[in-house]
Symmetry: C2
Subunit: 205 residues, 2 copies
Amino acid sequence: MEAVQDLPPGTAPGLRTKSQLQRRRRILQAAAALASRGGVEAMQMRTVAERAGVALGTLYRYFPSKMDLVVAVVGEELDMLESSIARRPPAAATPDGRAVDVLMRATRGLMREPELADALIRALILADVELPFGDRMAGLLVRVAGLSDGRATEEQGVLAASLGAVWVQELLEMLRGRRTYEDIQRRIEIAASRLLAEFPTSRVE
Amino acid sequence: MEAVQDLPPGTAPGLRTKSQLQRRRRILQAAAALASRGGVEAMQMRTVAERAGVALGTLYRYFPSKMDLVVAVVGEELDMLESSIARRPPAAATPDGRAVDVLMRATRGLMREPELADALIRALILADVELPFGDRMAGLLVRVAGLSDGRATEEQGVLAASLGAVWVQELLEMLRGRRTYEDIQRRIEIAASRLLAEFPTSRVE
DNA sequence: ACCGAAGTTAGAACGGATTCTACTAAGTGT
DNA sequence: ACACTTAGTAGAATCCGTTCTAACTTCGGT
């Protein structure tokens, strides 16, 4: 948990050779594939290593713990969400509408692989690691809500983070079978309308 | 072999003899004590059993998994919070003020035993178990916000649950060392003012 | 007082994450 | 090419949650 010196925990900084990048990719791919079947429990470190054609020790060199691995997988998913949003930005007229749009798009994405989603969300919450997940999601929401990109006020940041928290909670409830997609949509809309509607200062469409 | 029907997983229903109640109490106490030191990892099932003067198998008979044990410990903490609130209800004038009051009181309580808090929160979020935690906290907030006790509208429920989600998230951040008590207070106030201020019926200001 | 069911106990056994060891392969500077 | 640090491999070993076993108690009913 401590001595993580220069290995790539997050995205992929100092990987020297090409074969290392490929190893990393193979590992992440194997992990995601396994998780999207049986969930966390199917994604066993031995199995991931084997499936990635890598020794167990090597797997642990790349990802010091199972959590780190899961966090990395989540990071990739987030990348995909962000690029999807860049490709087709939310069109709703109001800030809260756009935020709901993004969150529900992410929800649909996760629902496609419920086992994976379950593993990811739980690991995220558990992680001791530096995970810019909340921050990243909040930043995404702030941006998407159409607020001044660079200079969101603290209040805006707090509100976006709050909406993110609510979303995560609802996802968890869904994974526990206590919410349907429609439930989540309705509830997120309610929360978003309170949290994000008409920001104090600037620009409304 | 299968039909293990009425063992006390949750609170404490059908415990026959007095000695069983005492065993249960000793177990919970040992668990809480251990967790309030080294956190989850210090609260090992073998250690709990030993410290409670009970065989490992017995521990597992009372609490079928570590999670169940943690959930039970949390339940006790919640009991204490609720009775504390009954004893000295929040005095603020507005619904959101009262909610903030309750949440910050709970926060202070948890801060007193950070390791315990950490273990509990994480386990709770992870738990597959039926845990009326979110519901219980949301119900508490609804009640405390001074809304019609029995007949909170769906919207009110959603908003209270949302505030609960935000609070849990902030607690997690605090346990990760990324928030101070003051941070949390400020952020919860911001979220609460949006989520709970001026419920349909009673408008202030 | 006795029987059978359910509760306890000490301890072994199992499974999966993580760590450790001893060894081999690859890359780098000279 | 040569020494050397670094990365990778196979597999044993360790740790902890959980399950299983076999014998011992406790308790309620008769």
